[in-house]
Symmetry: C2
Subunit: 389 residues, 2 copies
């Protein structure tokens, strides 16, 4: 065990919560016959038309630094794509390409969070932005979604948000949401935007799953309803829509007039995103619609299998999930989801992610990523049957 | 002009010094017949054996997230490379692959710098780490190298360092140095290590130019003389040694026992570096020695041309430079290096980097990057002749 005093690492950093998911996954490294449903990643490699575009970029010598903002063609392409998708003009001067959505979130934290600034985070949520806030010395205020028993849906706790908004520097919303599959409604977005405008609070909207939705082309976005001077940062990524998790490429959309400030932050974080990857990203957007449609069709099959099994397991309460590729469900009579996931991994070989990964209150909950082949999913659920029935 | 109050961006961020180099380069975007000597990049694209390795990685489906620390084979390869180069055992558990040396420096800042912590920076220096310190709320204490007239060499100001070390959290040293080409001697490293051990101050050694040196295989490194529990972070990069600037791949070597903490920071910055790029980096190290030798031979030619011209220009004082691929020189009778660089770019078409980019005291200085073909360099110096003679 490291004595923090010996190394003079910042206290907040040495006590930064590590991911319980990683802890569980690490417990079976090298072990065979594990079905890993804990990570947020499909099992489909990047489609070849995207890889081929990177190869061409290499052959054409695109191996030098790019501009901090990103390569102009990609920025223009994102502008067209996003404007089209959201029926709103998103000008290139509001777009910065980043080394993944993750780094966009780190940059947002660096831009906004002074020590002790408070940020409202709607939970359960993928925890990484909460850790970015803490790295910058800020304070996280978790405001959980409420699970309504009557219609088995997640609902925003607007009352609690209104109570806390005056003290906050920003509100962080991940919609469509990892882990719950909850999607913020248009009305909720309008309300949030209104109270944030009134109180001059930043909205940081993490919309990386906007295309992973099953009954429409794209999820409601703050980009649909905002003006270009709203205090709004929308973060997006190539990881989920185009199966490019290992590439580390994303983008952020910021208010008009701030690009010079954010370019500096790109410079001091990673300088500029990978040049050959940016050339591939451009092709992903331009030629990727069919890939997205096919992926959604495949995910629908996996989703149906998941719903069928989970609704039949007697120990499981599974709230309705309308987007992303996760199932987040409660297990009756468990109160230590990390121990449950460790034990289940040992006894069944199926890797689940503990609910405590996603904020307070996840002690009875687990998440699976169902972006796997039907065969693998069926096998996983059959193995889980003794534990969850 | 943005009113900071309207956007509630952190004061330190909106006032963060942008790079005067970028300002000058931006003034001629799209203009033809410019010879850009301002950026720190060779004009050689990444060699094909490295690009081919990335293509193979794509074909083999290495497009998923990697472990936070990096892919095990690459970590093992860096461990062997570094241990061999520095005749010291650098264990894999001290190595983390990062999205470029730049992100390694940002991560080092996040780990160490609390608000108002002081960090000694030896200047002139590539300014990005100074900005990282400021982003984290820390304070930069610049301690300039002294230019000795008698032997025309840069010397460390050890007295001034000793005076300030007690108040500092860390000392940042870039050796071989961008922009001066100064290389810290073994004796100086021993002295710095001794006083930092005594005062429990971190050494952050940015050694990305360790292979760009003209009379030996590798520059003296803190890795040659340190123990694995010294408060030492050594940052390295694939950018300079293997002409991979646009790839964004680097690594950091940290004390034994801290990898779990730094893995978390990788997670919250970029998650993990690009997977296909890591596979290419592995091949770069394993098969890249001949490329490095050839590059150094080419750079020697460019360096000789540079020395010949600069020593003959009557307005120029050019201290001896033994490494990296820059010439940092003083111009008599100028006191505004940014204006000088703007004017020179307009009148000659040659892009120089103003000395004010590299810390205080650069008002009479400029930097060129001479990692260009002999023809282009000759042309540039002929164009500069009227201004510098």
């Amino acid at each position: 065990m490291i004595d923090n005093n010996d190394f003079k690492i910042r206290k907040i950093i040495s006590s930064l919560k590590s991911s319980p998911i990683r802890n569980i996954a690490n417990s079976v490294i090298g072990k065979k016959n594990i079905i890993p449903l804990y990570f947020g990643e499909t099992d489909v490699a990047t489609p070849s038309f995207i890889s081929e575009a990177m190869k061409t970029a290499l052959d054409e010598g695109h191996t030098f630094y790019s501009a901090n903002q990103g390569i102009p063609d990609l920025i223009e392409t994102i502008s067209c794509y996003s404007s089209d998708l959201h029926k709103n003009n998103i000008s290139p001067s509001r777009i910065m390409v980043t080394s993944a959505g993750m780094n966009a979130l780190m940059i947002a934290s660096e831009a906004l969070i002074n020590p002790n600034d408070k940020v409202i985070c709607i939970t359960p949520v993928w925890p990484n932005f909460m850790r970015c806030i803490e790295i910058m010395g800020g304070k996280v205020i978790e405001i959980p979604l409420r699970h309504h028993d009557n219609d088995n849906k997640w609902k925003l706790n607007l009352e609690e948000i209104k109570k806390n908004i005056k003290d906050a520097k920003a509100i962080y919303i991940n919609t469509p949401n990892n882990p719950t599959g909850w999607v913020m409604s248009r009305n909720e977005q309008l309300e949030i935007l209104e109270i944030c405008r009134k109180e001059k609070v930043w909205v940081i909207s993490d919309e990386v799953y906007e295309r992973i939705i099953y009954d429409k082309k794209v999820a409601p976005s703050f980009l649909d309803i905002s003006k270009d001077d709203d205090l709004l940062i929308v973060v997006n990524s190539f990881s989920k829509s185009w199966a490019m998790t290992g590439w580390r490429l994303g983008w952020m959309i910021i208010p008009e007039g701030l690009i010079n400030i954010f370019e500096k932050l790109n410079e001091f974080n990673v300088a500029s995103p990978s040049s050959p990857a940016q050339h591939a990203g451009l092709v992903a957007i331009k030629e990727g619609e069919k890939f997205i449609q096919n992926m959604i069709n495949d995910l629908k099959l996996s989703r149906n299998i998941t719903i069928k099994y989970l609704n039949n397991f007697s120990q499981v309460i599974f709230p309705y999930s309308e987007a992303a590729f996760y199932a987040y469900f409660k297990i009756k009579d468990i109160s230590d989801s990390e121990k449950f996931c460790f034990d289940t991994l040992q006894s069944t070989g199926v890797g689940l992610a503990p609910g405590t990964s996603f904020g307070n209150g996840g002690e009875s909950w687990v998440r699976i990523c169902y972006a796997k082949s039907p065969d693998l999913l069926n096998e996983a659920f059959e193995k889980l049957k003794p534990v969850l029935s």
